[in-house]
């Protein structure tokens, strides 16, 4: 039985999101500069996040940072428990990542399992100088020792809740936003 999700509150609207992403971009550049920098979005919603961070970096520094897309399906640790198989999509990295500084971008950091899979996937393409993690929302409840280097917003949640990040590219919305949803058991 599928529990219904009802919106509880809006965590970030489009304008707030733009501000948060600009700050995240600034932090990335401040820490690591733009030399050798590559932004890699984790499918699905890490991809529009990475794109917006790259745009913000271009505005800040006038530098175009290469963008990549990582599909982690083949690296998941729950393939035997989810059926049917999730659809595998393509990974597209901008050239060689050997010796570069890779910032993995994802919308929500939760259990940490996606990030574990993403690091494994990334390392199969080469040996970056360093890998960082940038997430828009950190909602807690880690199951693995994973931490983000750049966080948009820390949101304490309960496990019953869902953090929903929406982008026009990936969801049927006009403006991006982040909402906190709560499960209502269907009666």
């Amino acid at each position: 039985m599928q529990a219904e999700l009802i919106p509880k509150s809006t965590l970030l609207d489009a304008a707030q999101m733009a501000r948060v992403i600009r700050r995240m971009a600034g932090e990335v550049v401040e820490r690591d500069g733009t030399n050798d920098l590559v932004l890699v979005g984790i499918r699905t919603r890490g991809v529009p996040l990475a794109k917006r961070m790259a745009e913000a970096i271009e505005q800040l520094e006038g530098v175009q940072v290469p963008l990549g897309i990582l599909d982690i399906t083949l690296y998941r640790d729950d393939l035997s428990t989810i059926a049917p198989q999730p659809v595998v999509k393509e990974t597209k990295l901008p050239g060689d990542i050997e010796g570069r500084l890779v910032v993995l971008c994802d919308d929500v950091l939760y259990t940490g399992r996606t990030v574990r899979a993403a690091i494994d996937a990334l390392l199969d393409y080469g040996r970056p100088r360093a890998v960082r993690l940038a997430v828009l929302i950190d909602r807690g409840h880690r199951e693995l020792p994973v931490q983000a280097d750049t966080v948009g917003r820390v949101v304490p949640t309960s496990r019953r809740e869902v953090v929903e990040v929406r982008f026009p590219e990936t969801d049927e919305v006009e403006d991006e936003d982040v909402r906190l949803m709560t499960r209502k058991e269907a009666s």
Binding site: D71, T73, L74, Y75, L79, S80, T81, I82, A83, P84, Q85, P86, V87, V88, K89, E90, T91, D120, A121, D124, Y125, G126
Partner: protein, 318 residues
């Protein structure tokens, strides 16, 4: 949910193309598209099927198909074991049912099987908990070959719907043809077949294809030509007066190929008999996609292994 996730794979086995619906075929082809990229990596391995066991059971000789499956299994990190008829109890008189029971005892996740008799994979599928992939059963079906052919066509032409496809050669004894006819007609292609009368099955039209009287007629204005192997080693009953005559009537030469569309592609499931069904000039020429087919084979087989393991695990959960 995005539209491409709308279809899910639920079958335990891949026994033939005949029973698949067009959406299932597209799902395999789309999935294969994503697996293609693995071949371009410096480290050609993903951990997806770690801890899964695949048995390759080849009762009939095969180099190409077996190695293609083996590479696909290894790139997905599955553990694979090979049984082939020349090197095992398969040639020592064990019955098929005993073989099946023995396999079952080894608890494999998937069994890839090729056999000279049609229906053997189906029988194993009924007896085994493992998913069964038909890697060719007699003259019946060879689903992964048809899938890799379709994958190659789609990459080159962007579609299958509305294409004109000619299949030429020994139509009657080819499992490749049967699977391809099912697949291509299901996806909306117009299929013509041509070949000597002795190699044309009766009522082949019932499969939804047109029989062309000559090679020339078959090639007229086509987008795709599939040449079939003449199985010289199996020509015991003399279906051909001579190899030379066959080449004259049905061999694909550059001059014949000029009847097809300007951007025609030429396919062959291999192994080729140069100078019998195809001239070297065409086989090595600019229209040939024969090596692309081999490349596609690994991606398509990875996709099938991936989808079948998922369906099997899903079943175990339920």
């Amino acid at each position: 949910m995005s539209p491409e996730t709308a279809v899910a794979w639920h079958r335990k086995d891949l026994l033939g193309i005949a029973e698949l619906d067009p959406d299932e075929i597209r799902l395999i082809l789309d999935t294969a598209e994503s697996f293609r990229e693995i071949a371009e990596r410096p480290i050609k391995k993903v951990p997806t099927l770690r801890g899964k066991t695949v048995i390759n059971l080849f009762f009939e000789a095969s180099t190409r198909t077996r190695s293609s499956f083996e590479i696909a299994e290894k790139w997905l990190s599955a553990d694979s074991i090979n049984f082939s008829s020349s090197s095992s109890a398969l040639s020592k008189g064990e019955t098929l049912i005993d073989t099946a029971l023995n396999l079952q005892a080894m608890a494999p996740d998937l069994v890839v099987v090729r056999h000279e008799h049609p229906g053997v994979p189906h029988m194993l599928a009924k007896r085994l908990k493992a998913g069964v992939i038909n890697a060719g059963d007699g003259a019946h079906e060879h689903p992964t070959q048809a899938l890799l052919d379709a994958f190659t066509i789609r990459r080159r032409k962007g579609r299958i719907d509305g294409l004109k496809v000619a299949i030429v050669g020994d139509i009657e004894h080819s499992r490749v043809v049967r699977s391809n006819i099912h697949l291509l007609t299901k996806l909306g292609a117009e299929v013509r077949v041509a070949g000597p009368r002795t190699m044309m099955p009766v009522e082949v039209e019932k499969l939804g294809v047109v029989v062309a009287p000559t090679l020339e007629a078959a090639l007229e204005d086509v987008d795709v030509v599939m040449m079939l192997r003449i199985q010289l080693e199996r020509q015991s009953r003399q279906r051909l007066p001579s190899v030379k005559e066959y080449f004259q009537l049905y061999g694909l030469t550059a001059r014949q190929l000029a009847r097809a569309k300007e951007d025609v592609i030429v396919m062959h499931p291999g192994p080729m008999n140069r100078g019998v069904e195809i001239s070297s000039e065409v086989a090595d020429g600019p229209f040939s996609v024969i090596l692309e087919q081999v490349e596609a084979g690994v991606a398509v087989r990875m996709a099938v292994l991936y989808l079948l393991v998922g369906a099997r695990d899903g079943e175990a959960e339920a």
